[in-house]
Amino acid sequence: MLKVQHYSISKKLTLMNLLVSAAALLLACAGFCAYDLYSLRTAVIGNVSMQAQIIGDNTVSALLFNDPHSAEKTLSALRANPNLMYAQIYTYDGQPFAGYWRDRAGETRALPMIPAGQTQSHWFRDGHLGLARSIIFQGKAMGTVYIRSDLRAMNDRFKSYALIIAIVFLASLMVALLISRIFERRISKPVKELAETVRIVSREKDYSIRAAATGSQDELATLVDAFNEMLEQIQGHEVALRQAHDELEERVQERTRQLAAANQELEIRNHEVERATRMKSRFLASMSHELRTPLNAIVGFSDLLAEQTPGQLNDKQQRFVSHIKQGSAHLLQLINDILDLSKIEAGQLEFRCEDFQVKDALPEVLSTIRPLAMAKSIQIEQKLGTDHQVHADRVRFKQVLYNLLSNAVKFTPKAGRIDIDCREDGNFVAISVTDTGIGIRAEDQAVIFEEFRQVEGPAEAAQEGTGLGLAISKRLVERQGGRISLESEFGKGSRFTFTLPVGSTASQTPLISGPTILPVAAGGGRGKPLILIVDDEIAARELLATYLSPEYQIVMAESGAEAVVKAQQLRPDAITLDVLMPDSTGFETLVALRKTPDTASIPIIIVSIVDQKQVGFALGAADYLIKPIRKSALLETIRKHVAPQSDDDETILLVDDDPRTLELLEETLRSAGYETESVRSGARALEVLSSKQVSAVLLDLLMPGMDGFEVIRHVRQEPTLKELPIFVMTAKSLTGDELAVLNRETQALFHKNGSWHPQLIVEVGRVFQGRKLARSAAQS
């Protein structure tokens, strides 16, 4: 019964019918039984009452004439009725008069009470009926007769009645069950069939199946009809859906075919584009080589002429040479810019992004810009906040900054002012260059970043620019995830701002530029020795740099540790060292530099506010200057310790397939006091190297036959030539891999796209001086 909700509908119906029938039958049977009991009792009472009356009537005379014997004779007639257990006649005043006992072993009982006003009373007690009746004779009560009858007959009768009722009950129940079965089948069978149909439909997804009609007109028939109608609709929908699906599939196939065709076409186009790109790359590569090589010769020879190395020039000749120099320098710049732009457009420019601090990259740019600014008495102010870290390609960052600063210098009148400031703006660092120049008209501001756009300005400024600097800067910044913008008021000045992503302050790696990639010192004098300025205060560094920059090449370090690293890498000709620095004192740095073999021979000049000359000299300082220092004193001291370029007869092997470049290099190096030998192929170079002692190799990369990389590989395989200094000079645009090889295997890389002479002299001089110092150190 607990799980009646899990029964099948037919079981439930049967159960319901059975319960209903059983309940009805039980009620009916109970009613019958009650009625039977009642009527049986009434009959028994009537029977006994009648007997009592007869007995009473027949014993009146016995009572009147005091004849108990006669009464007993009358009573003995009761024996005919076996149910009568006992009878007693009482006199009027309640005395027992005569009695009868069925079992002859009776006792006389007290006269039962008959309620006043009644002639008879009866009671059922202990399975028998007791009945007392007054004996009335001629309207007068003469006595009482009391009869007790057992109920065996009645009970027997009742039992047989109950049996009959039970049989009737069971039979009725069976019949009800039978009938309910018949009816239940008529109800549950269609339901079961419907359920089965539903299951099949839902399992097979076959909506063409229909539920069978029940043949009757009841709700089940309605249900079946409704279900069939629903199936009809679903089938209709399904057919429509399938049609739609088929159509869709057809359309998809059609589209797929079209797409495939388009793809094929695209692939062809792609091939074409790829080919075009390859061609463009090849064009760019050859452009950079073919254009620069002759221009290199022009620039170089005009330099030599201007320096009057081959002989004295008169004023007119000098002026003409100067025009050639300016024109060719401009042309070289233009070519470089165009190639840069093309590379950016072609997506061939590689960015090597790293985290570095803005204030570390700035001095290298400033050292180039400052001479230009000083020429026009323009003051450059930097307002750099603390530690602005950017994530960018350091070289490209400097290029952008250089472009903006050189622009600012160009367009700012004499005695103007340029501000550099830097602030953090969300996830970006914004660097602004503000000048007090001529400003840019509002209508020009929109196009200022387009290629070959120049705003009207001073004639000389227009001449100097290529019109590509801002366009390149914009692309460089945007490729690194930043933006460049301009605010300007015509006549008052301009403010260029570019943003770059903030770098993580955690990765504050010391700034080590590649050992051979040196800052380009445009406009620097030739053969300038390298000075490392070590000071934690930027102002002090800048001051020293300004004093020294006309005569010397400058590298700066702001801490002792950085100084040691840079000194090892760059082997400067001298070091100026501040003693009071936060992380390690100047003296510690001094000791560290002295202990390191690579740097032990470099003269170190202490420039400090503290006067501890004894200590300084004791630790090996070459000289000791006390702040504030005069420019003349500083220069005098440096000159004392930095030897002029050596005139040693060191031979340098020049390898280039272009005779003009060879001649230019020969001239340049010989004028600096070096012996040279020239060969025009890699194979020849290897021959010379195997037969002759050579101090260094200056190598071109792009050569017919064996190219520069192959030469380097061969040289480095030779055990005796492992340490041979190799300088590379090329017009080739280098890939990252090539650059890595060159960084590893060579001492310096010069690019023909710039003014490489001064650098060349410095680098060669440094290598030779280092070797000389090492030799002398080894001798002592």
Partner: protein, 179 residues
């Protein structure tokens, strides 16, 4: 009446008002009255025309006050029962029951013959009364008063006797005398 009934029905004369036991005649007085209840008289008889139901004592009255006391206030068939004392059978014209005193022993047959012509129930305690044509004769069974019935005499007189009465009679005689 209640008092009379009480001791009659108990069967043992026991008058609560009296200290002595009921005498035989006390019982016989009650019986006389009771006989009247079990007998039917012919509707056209002389006695039936009377307003009262007369129970007569012929000769010397042996009951004393007992009979009058017994019958006082009683009715049979709606007629009040009265006791009458007569000295000759000729006076029994409106009597229903005639009790013949034992003092009349000598002229019993003569009286019976005279009374049997009338629809009168004759009762007596004279021995051999029922054998000589008397209808009901008191007899003593031990100390208990019983009676004998001469049914033939009763039927001759046109009276109907209830079978109930016969049940309690010690002897019922049929055709035993009269001839």
């Amino acid at each position: 009446m209640a008092v009379v009934m009480a001791w009659v029905l108990v069967g043992v004369p026991c008058l609560r008002a009296q200290s002595s036991k009921p005498t035989d005649y006390d019982v016989k007085a009650v019986y006389l009255f009771n006989f009247g209840r079990f007998v039917e008289w012919p509707a056209n008889g002389t006695a039936a025309k009377n307003d009262s139901f007369a129970i007569c004592v012929l000769g010397q009255d042996p009951f004393g006050p007992a009979l009058d006391a017994t019958l006082a206030g009683e009715t049979i068939d709606g007629k009040s029962v009265v006791a009458k004392r007569i000295s000759t059978p000729e006076e029994s014209g409106d009597c229903r029951i005639v009790f013949m005193s034992s003092a009349e022993d000598a002229r019993m047959n003569k009286i019976i013959a005279a009374l049997n012509k009338e629809a009168v129930l004759t009762v007596s305690d004279i021995p051999q009364f029922s054998q000589h044509g008397g209808m009901i004769q008191f007899v003593l069974e031990g100390k208990k008063v019983r009676f004998e019935v001469n049914l033939t005499a009763v039927q001759h007189a046109g009276l109907t006797l209830s079978s109930e009465l016969l049940k309690v009679a010690t002897t019922v005689r049929r055709n035993s005398s009269g001839d």
